[in-house]
């Protein structure tokens, strides 16, 4: 081993350690930034360690790629608004997976038939996961960005068609292990994987995106880990596994928060079910702006429950203004965050942090639920299914068993809603018909702005 390779290996070892320390920093908001700086330093080390590699003979393609990538990355990093985080994340999964896939294709193109069985299986795995994640993430991006309808796209026999496509892909995979030189099979598998990625995400509705994004995150990571196995690089295996593991853990957390299995999310086409069995009972009660303002102004504790509606209305800043106005009057203000509120894990927390809400006020489901009975006013802003009491009370409901924020136990509930339409899942929400619930119709941002004024005058 010469000096250069020793330097490379040592830089990889340090990078791996720094990545792990960096992720450990994320266990608390106070240490998180420092942790990320460690990870950034690790990345720099690994890149420098690679650039001295003997195999690298020319630098023009590398420099071009680094320059273009840094420019695009920096621009995206600086200017993507926080409300667009789900889209950006989906897009970055696509980039990561595409990179893994391209390295795999190049390896196959160069060494093809000469690859041993182990390397060939790792390579196929890499290309398979990488390709399906690339197109799957692009579809998720299009849905989140509104370039495509967010509703599930379904047709008859969809699951059977998708599964048979997957079966053919796996047959190609297995055959390649025995005939690594059969490049037709390799490119066929590649095309099938790209197609499968699209078909996999098409039937998934926008409300299920938190699970899908987490799952695609996991796939992108595993593809990177497989790349590490193909080129025999440990830091890649470690970083890829960390990414894959994190995505997997997140998707399980998200599924638990919806009381559904991953299979059900992927193949259930939730949301396409039109629930007609439950007729809406009773009357929704509309409540006046001034009433709400008075109730809030004289409350002891108010809890805000944000949902995706807050993100689309960009209402987080004015919500914070309302909270400030209330706190000035001595009201205790808290925010109840459901794990699947929004379109990606932790979405609401980031938006509220952007509006400089201190994180100590952001409460998780288990913490805030016992507090609702002693809460004077709960304000639901563009959330629906996560506060649907049917999940708790009605065992026949399709969301039965899903943990909810029990706002209906508060002394009074105010629901900010655009109109009388149903929630994303198409379910009737009995909360809206409860006697302690009032509806405040209109754009969330506008309603909140008016509320701030009304509270000042109250």
């Amino acid at each position: 081993m010469d000096v250069r390779s020793v330097f490379t290996e040592v830089s990889y070892l340090f990078a791996s350690i720094l990545f792990i320390l960096g992720l450990r920093g994320l266990s608390h908001p106070d240490t998180a930034r420092r942790g990320m700086h460690l990870a950034e330093f690790g990345m720099l080390l690994a890149i420098l360690g690679t650039l001295v590699n003997r195999e690298i003979v020319s630098y023009e393609w590398i420099i071009a790629g680094l320059l273009i990538g840094s420019t695009i990355g920096l621009a995206m990093g600086l200017w993507v608004p926080m409300t667009a985080m789900p889209q950006r994340t989906a897009l970055s999964h696509a980039f990561g997976a595409l990179a893994a896939s391209l390295v795999g294709i190049s390896e196959y193109y160069l060494h093809g038939a000469g690859l041993g069985q182990f390397k060939m299986s790792a390579l196929s795995f890499e290309v398979l996961l990488g390709s399906l994640t690339t197109t799957g993430s692009l579809v998720a991006f299009a849905k989140l960005q509104g370039l495509m309808p967010g509703s599930p796209l379904t047709y008859k026999g969809q699951n059977i068609f998708n599964l048979s496509l997957l079966a053919v892909t796996i047959i190609c995979f297995v055959c390649l292990l025995f005939f690594p030189g059969a490049s037709v099979l390799f490119y066929l598998m590649l095309i099938l994987a790209f197609t499968f990625g699209v078909l996999l995400v098409l039937p998934i509705g926008a409300a299920d995106m938190p699970v899908v994004i987490a799952l695609l995150n996991s796939y992108a990571g595993l593809a990177a880990a497989a790349t590490g196995m193909v080129i025999g690089n440990n830091v890649l295996i470690i970083a890829g596994t960390l990414d894959g593991g994190s995505g997997f853990i997140l998707s399980i957390v998200m599924c638990k928060a919806m009381n559904r299995s991953i299979t059900n999310v992927l193949f259930g086409a939730f949301g396409s079910v039109s629930e007609t069995t439950q007729a809406s009972e009773g009357q929704m009660r509309e409540i006046g702006l001034d009433d709400v303002a008075v109730q809030l102004a004289y409350a002891r504790q108010a809890v805000f429950v944000p949902g995706y509606g807050m993100a689309t209305a960009q209402a987080q800043h004015v919500l914070r203004e309302l909270a400030d106005a209330l706190e000035d009057r001595g009201v205790t203000v808290k925010y109840a965050i459901h794990p699947v509120a929004g379109r990606m894990p932790g979405h609401m927390n980031v938006l509220l942090a952007e509006a400089s809400v201190p994180y100590s006020q952001l409460q998780e489901l288990e913490v805030i639920n016992p507090e609702f009975p002693s809460t004077d006013v709960a304000v639901v802003i563009g959330a629906n299914d996560v506060v649907n009491p049917d999940a708790r009370d009605n065992p026949t409901s399709i969301i039965a068993g899903m943990p909810i924020l029990e706002v209906d136990r508060a002394k009074m509930v105010v629901v900010l809603k655009r109109g009388q339409g149903k929630g994303f899942s198409g379910l009737v929400n009995p909360l809206f018909f409860k006697p302690n619930c009032g509806m405040l119709y209109g754009d969330a941002k506008e309603s909140l702005t008016n509320l701030v004024q009304a509270v000042h005058n109250a």
Binding site: Y12, F19, I20, L23, R24, L26, P29, D30, A32, M36, A39, M43, T50, N53, E55, I56, W61, I62, G65, L66, I68, G69, I72, G73, L74, M76, G77, L78, M82, M85, R88, T89, S92, F95, G96, A99, A100, L102, V103, S106, G116, F118, K119, I213, G221, N234, A239, T241, L242, G245, S246, I249, M344, P345, G346, N349, V350, S356, L362, E364
Partner: protein, 103 residues
């Protein structure tokens, strides 16, 4: 590939998986979005694989594939770290305790 290398590779894989589980399950749901963009940036380490592919110059095809891969991973590394930092900067404790009006 010799059996020893294969076994060593699996050791790394399995240990990384265990360690990852331990570290990541400690991340509070408050920070799940930054976690996702951070792991994304970190897995941009596939850049090191892409660098070799782009620079080894076996054929023009592999160089171009490598170049594209370098671009994609650099976008993730740079963009991922920048945006993670931007997000983490926003998470703060209450800066000044709000004076409660007692009456």
């Amino acid at each position: 590939m010799p059996a020893e290398t294969l076994i060593a590779t699996f050791y790394v894989l399995i240990l990384a998986a265990f360690l990852g589980y331990q570290v990541i399950s400690r991340v509070p749901s408050l920070l799940h979005t930054p976690l996702m963009s951070a792991t994304n940036a970190i897995s941009g380490i596939s850049l090191v694989g892409s660098l070799v592919t782009a620079g080894a110059h076996h054929t023009i095809v592999s160089a171009v594939l490598g170049f594209l891969a370098v671009t994609c991973s650099t976008i993730n590394v740079v963009g991922g770290f920048v945006i993670t930092d931007r997000m983490l900067k926003m998470f703060r404790k209450r800066e000044t305790p709000v004076a409660r009006k007692e009456d």
